[in-house]
C-alpha cells in the first residue's frame, strides 16, 4: 500500500495493472490466465449484478442454469459458432485421477477413465441451450422463452489481463426464443438498450450504441448490437453485445414450432451478455493517478468515516458523533463504514480509501468536536469542505449525487472531445497516433478495406452507430462511395 502508483502518463497499462492489485480488486492466480476476484472487487461486481438482474427481470426475463460442459458433438453443430470458438476451448477428456505408481504421494490422470466423447468447458452456451430448447418448444404457445444465466465461462486466451481478458470470466448470458424475426430483433435491440442504460446510469460511463460490421460480429449471429465506451488512453472498449441470431441455432439444433397458422417454422433467437470485463471498463473510465474512482451507485460503501484521535477519551467522544452520523446516513439509504481500526494511522487510512475509490471521506478530530463540524473530502475532485454536524447527512446526500453526475459529465466531455471526423487517410493515421479516441470516417462497406485498415493502423471499426445520420461521402481509404460514417478506434 505504501508505494505510489505508476502514473497514467508514465505507463497507462502498468498504471491499470498496479491499480487493480493495489486497490484489492483482483489478482492473478496459480492457474494461467485465471484471476482471483478479491472481496472488494467482488462487492462492486455484486452491485453490478444486482442492478442488471433487476433490469432483466423488469423486462420479463427469468434466470435458469445450464451445464458447464458441452459435448463436442453439440458444440460443433452450429458451424460458424464452433469455428469461432474452437481455438479457445478448454477440453475435459478424463473423469478420474489415481495414485501415480511412479511417484509416491502424487496423482496422475487415470488412463482408463477416458471419456467416450470429450466435453468442452462452455465458452458461451448457445449450443447446450438450443439443444435443450428443442424439447421445450412445440408450438407458438411455448414462445417467447426469455431466459438469462449468471455463470462462469472459459476462453483460452493467450494474452490475458485482469478483468479485461481472462481465461475464465464471470458473465451473464441471455438466450431468448421467438416466433418472429421482428420480435427477436426487437429483443436484441431492447437488451442492448438495457446495457446502455446500465452503463450510463450506474457506471457513469457514456456509451455509443451501434451494430458491428460482419467481420466483428459474434460467430453465428446475423447482427451484433453493441455498446462501445472510450477509455482515458483513447482506446475503445466493447462493454456489452446483444446478438440477433436469426434461425441459425434453431436450424443447427432442429428447433421448430407450430405457428398460429399451424405450420412448422424454425424459431428465431437472440443472445446477449456482459461480463466482469465491465470492471475493467469502470476502472479505466474514472480512475486517476491516486487510484480507483467509483461512482456512488456501485461503491461497496459510499462513505467512510475516519476518527482522528490521540487518546481513548477522544476516540470515545468521536465515536459517539460518528455513530449518530452513521445512523442518519443509513436511514437515507447511504452505505457507510466507520474505520476505527487501531492498527493504522489516519494518514494510512486516507491513502487506502483514496486508492480504493470511496466516494466520500468524513474525518472527525478533536477540533471538529469543539466546533461541531466534520471534514468531508470528495474522491472525484479531491476537494474538502468543513460542514456543520447538523448539515452532514443532507450534504453527503447531495455530494453523492454531484459525484455521480460529475463522473458521467467528465467522461462524456472527454469522449465528446475524442470523436474526430476525418476525411483523408493521412488525417486518420495522424489522429489515431496523436490524439486517439474514436475516428468518424467514411468506409466503403467491404471486409477487405476494413481488414486493410486494421493491418495498417491496428484500428478496427468499433461500430456503425445506431443514430448515424445518412451522409454521402467517399471511403477514407479507397475513395469509393459511402453512405455514412462509421467509428474506428484502437480497442481493448
Amino acid at each position: 500500500m505504501s508505494k505510489k502508483l505508476t502514473t497514467r502518463t508514465e505507463d497507462y497499462s502498468k498504471w491499470y495493472n498496479e491499480l487493480v492489485v493495489k486497490a484489492d480488486l483482483a489478482e492473478n492466480s496459480a492457474v494461467r490466465g485465471c484471476m482471483v476476484i478479491k472481496p472488494y472487487g467482488y462487492a462492486i461486481w455484486e452491485k453490478m449484478q444486482a442492478e442488471l438482474d433487476r433490469m432483466f427481470k423488469e423486462t420479463g426475463h427469468q434466470n435458469a442454469y445450464f451445464p458447464l460442459f458441452v459435448p463436442k458433438s453439440l458444440f460443433e453443430a452450429e458451424e460458424k459458432n464452433a469455428e469461432g470458438f474452437a481455438k479457445e476451448c478448454a477440453v475435459v477428456t478424463h473423469y478420474r485421477l489415481q495414485a501415480d505408481p511412479d511417484k509416491p504421494g502424487k496423482l496422475r490422470v487415470d488412463p482408463e477413465a477416458k471419456l467416450e466423447e470429450e466435453l468442452v468447458v462452455r465458452p458461451t452456451s448457445e449450443a447446450i441451450i438450443w439443444n435443450t430448447y428443442r424439447n421445450w418448444i412445440q408450438s407458438y404457445r411455448d414462445l417467447p422463452i426469455l431466459i438469462n444465466q449468471w455463470a462462469n465461462v472459459v476462453r483460452w486466451e493467450m494474452r490475458t489481463r485482469l478483468f479485461l481478458r481472462t481465461a475464465e470470466f464471470l458473465w451473464q448470458e441471455g438466450h431468448t426464443a421467438h416466433e418472429t424475426k421482428e420480435e427477436a430483433l426487437k429483443e436484441a435491440k431492447l437488451m442492448n438498450n438495457v446495457y446502455a442504460t446500465f452503463a450510463e446510469n450506474f457506471m457513469a460511463m457514456p456509451v455509443i450504441q451501434g451494430v458491428k460490421t460482419e467481420s466483428e460480429r459474434f460467430a453465428g449471429a446475423e447482427e451484433t448490437f453493441c455498446i462501445e465506451a472510450l477509455m482515458q488512453d483513447g482506446k475503445a472498449l466493447q462493454a456489452g453485445t446483444s446478438h440477433f441470431l436469426g434461425q441459425n441455432f434453431a436450424k443447427a439444433f432442429d428447433v421448430k414450432f407450430a405457428n398460429k397458422e399451424g405450420k412448422q417454422d424454425y424459431v428465431w433467437a437472440t443472445s446477449w451478455g456482459v461480463s466482469t470485463r465491465l470492471m475493467g471498463a469502470l476502472i479505466m473510465t474514472h480512475s486517476d493517478d491516486n487510484g480507483l474512482v467509483l461512482p456512488p451507485t456501485l461503491a461497496p460503501y459510499q462513505v467512510v468515516i475516519v476518527p482522528i484521535y490521540k487518546n481513548e477519551d477522544d476516540l470515545n467522544a468521536i465515536s459517539k458523533v460518528a455513530n449518530g452520523i452513521q445512523a442518519d446516513l443509513r436511514a437515507k439509504g447511504i452505505s457507510v463504514k466507520y474505520d476505527d481500526r487501531d492498527t493504522q494511522r489516519p494518514g494510512a487510512k486516507f491513502a487506502q480509501h483514496e486508492l480504493q475509490g470511496v466516494p466520500l471521506r468524513l474525518a472527525i478530530g478533536p477540533k471538529d468536536l469543539e466546533n461541531g463540524t466534520v471534514e468531508i473530502a470528495r474522491r472525484d475532485t479531491l476537494t474538502k469542505e468543513i460542514v456543520a454536524l447538523d448539515k452532514v447527512s443532507e450534504t453527503v446526500k447531495s455530494l453523492l449525487d454531484a459525484i455521480q453526475e460529475n463522473l458521467f459529465k467528465r467522461a462524456f466531455d472527454y469522449r465528446a472531445s475524442h470523436i474526430t471526423e476525418v476525411d483523408t487517410f493521412d488525417e486518420f493515421k495522424t489522429v489515431l497516433e496523436t490524439k486517439g479516441g474514436f475516428i468518424s470516417a467514411h468506409w466503403d462497406g467491404t471486409n477487405e478495406t476494413e481488414a486493410k485498415i486494421k493491418e495498417l493502423t491496428k484500428a478496427t471499426i468499433r461500430c456503425i452507430p445506431l443514430d448515424n445520420k445518412p451522409e454521402e461521402g467517399v471511403c477514407v481509404f479507397t475513395g469509393k462511395p459511402s453512405k455514412g460514417r462509421v467509428l474506428f478506434a484502437k480497442a481493448y
Copy 2:
C-alpha cells in the same frame, strides 16, 4: 402436465423424479449427470441464496471468486483431501479444438494443444484458496479472513439424481482463516448453526445438528459439523456441513503468520457449504402426491389469482378486483401472480399451481363478484374458504404465516415420531426395515463396528448430536461399553 404423479407409496423414488420434472424444477441434460435448472426451480434457489447470503454477511463474511480450475500439483498437496476427491475429478488436458482432418465439418481435440500440467475442475476449492491465502497472510493483523464463494463444482458421480447427486452442482463454500484453534472451532460451529437456522426458519425443515464420525468426515477435516434432516420415506439427508480443518491446509500450503508474540505459527482453517442438494431436501420434506409443497418464505410467488370467466366482460370485471388485491398484497410484501392466460382453462391452471406448490390460490368468479368474495385455497392442507373482499389481504397474510408454521410442525412431528431408541441389533434391523427414520443407539466408537453395521444394514451413523445427553450403555452391535447414543439411518 396431464398425467398424474406416481404416488409416494407406489414408488417414492419415481414420485420424486417425476415431481422434479413435472413441476418444472429441473431436468437432465445432454451431459451425463449434469442438470438443467429450469426457471421455476432456479427462482427457489435464488431465494435460498438471498437468505443465506444475507446471513453470511450478517456474520461478517464477504464474497469473492476463485478459479474454476486447480492445477494437479496444487490439488494433490493436501493428501487426504486429494485422496478423497481424486476418483471424482473431471480433468482438462487440452486447450484447443481444431478441424478434424478425417471428418469434414467435425472438430477434434488438437493434439498439439496439450497442457503441460493437467487442470482439475474444482470438486471443492480448499486447494486453490489456501494456495492464494498464503500470499494474503503474514501476520495476525491479516486474520481472520472470512470469505464465501458462490460457485459451480464438479464431482464425477456414477449414479446421479436431479438435485440430490449431480456431476455439476451449484453451491456456496465458505473458507476462513484464523489465529487460534478456538476461534476456528467457534466459526465452524457458528456456520453450522447458521445452516440450521436457515433450514428451520426458511425451509421449514427441522434438522439435527451434530458431528460426523471419523469415517464420514470431509477429506482433510479434523471435525465435521453437519445438519441432518429426515425425508418422508424415512431416509436421512445431510443438508449442510461445516468443517474444522485444523492446520492441515495451512501445513500443506505453508500458510504461516506472525502471532501477537511475534512467533510463526500455522493458520487455523474452516470450510462450510450447502448446495443445490437443498432443493432435493426441500422437495422431499414437504411435497405430497399432488406435487410440490413450498414454504411461503421460499416460494417464487406466494399467491396466485385465477379468474373464472365465460366472457370478456366477466374477465374485465374480475381483473379490476384482482388488480386491487394484487396492489394490497404487494404493499404487504407478499408476492403474487395474476394468471389470466387465455390458453388454459381454470381447471388446468389449478392443477398446475398445485403441482408447482404455490402456497395460496385465490379464485374469483362471477358469483364472487356478486357476493363480494374470493375463494382461497391452501396448498398445504388442500382446504378452501370463502373470504369477504375486504378481509382478503389480512387473511392471506395470516394464512401464509400459518402455512409456514404448519409445514414446520408437520415435518417436526414426523421426525419426532421417527427417532427410535433401540437397544438390540435385532430391534435395530427391524425398525430400520419397517419404520425407517433415525435410530438412536449405543455404539462402541470404532470405525470397524460402524463399517460392519453399514455392510449389514446399509445404515450409517448420520451424526453424534450436539445436544446428546451422556448415557452409559453398551454398543448395539458389539456389546462393548458406550458413553452415549448416536443416530443411525439409511441416507441419501
